[in-house]
């Protein structure tokens, strides 16, 4: 089986909506662009408190 690899471009991470490129050998096209919202509530908690609560 021949896999045709298309040419894709990185999405620039935006201030209004950040996006990730997801690499996955099991999906058509081998990857896709997603809004960066996985576990968004928890991510926000970490980011808001990195210094004050987590000493980072």
């Amino acid at each position: 089986m021949v896999i045709v690899v298309k040419s894709v471009e990185w999405p620039v991470y935006g201030a209004v909506e950040g996006q990730n490129y997801v690499f996955d050998a099991n999906v058509t096209g081998l990857g896709y662009v997603e809004p960066d919202l996985f576990r968004a509530e928890a991510m926000q908690y970490w980011m808001d408190n990195l210094v004050t609560l987590f000493g980072r």
Binding site: W10, V12, Y13, A15, A25, N26, F38, Y45, G55
Partner: protein, 201 residues
Amino acid sequence: MVNTCQLQVPVVDGDFISQSATTQLQNGEYIKVPILIGCNFDEGASFASESVNTDAEFTAYMESVRFGVANSSVLDTLSVLYPDIPAIGIPAILHGRPAAAPGGLGLQFKRASSIIGDALMHAPRKFMTEIWAANNLTSYSYRFNVVPNGVSYSFGADHFKEVAFVMNNVKGDGYVQKGGVDPFADKLESFKGLVKLITRM
């Protein structure tokens, strides 16, 4: 001195590390260049405790890796943000609830994996890309979700698994010689297709 901490993390020593990296990023004290940054879906599975069965053990685990430094309200909040629901923990491809430890990975392994991966990698990555974006700097972010040959599905796409792909190492050079297995052996052609895609971007 005996180091009882499970993880090695940067600390401000006034010598190599002058202050909080977070603070430096917030103050604009970093090199303004485009960055490409990302993490694997299941990074946390490489670092999580494999002995968490109960809520109390989950809390003790968070304390042991210094989340919130003995602040119970922080630990309570994190427990809510990372509930004991295996179906939304990581690795997603590890279905159901893992077997109890010892013997199994721990009833709450997927919960522990989720929180440690976010704390160490996913949240800091997002923090950086948001700072870059807010300052009109270019950044590109990825998430990698492939389990190479020779790796247990229990750990999913965990730490280091992207390396053979991004280094275009389709022959698996170095893996077998070092006692491992070829990450591409017996895998779909799509794996090599993904190498092409990644290394051409």
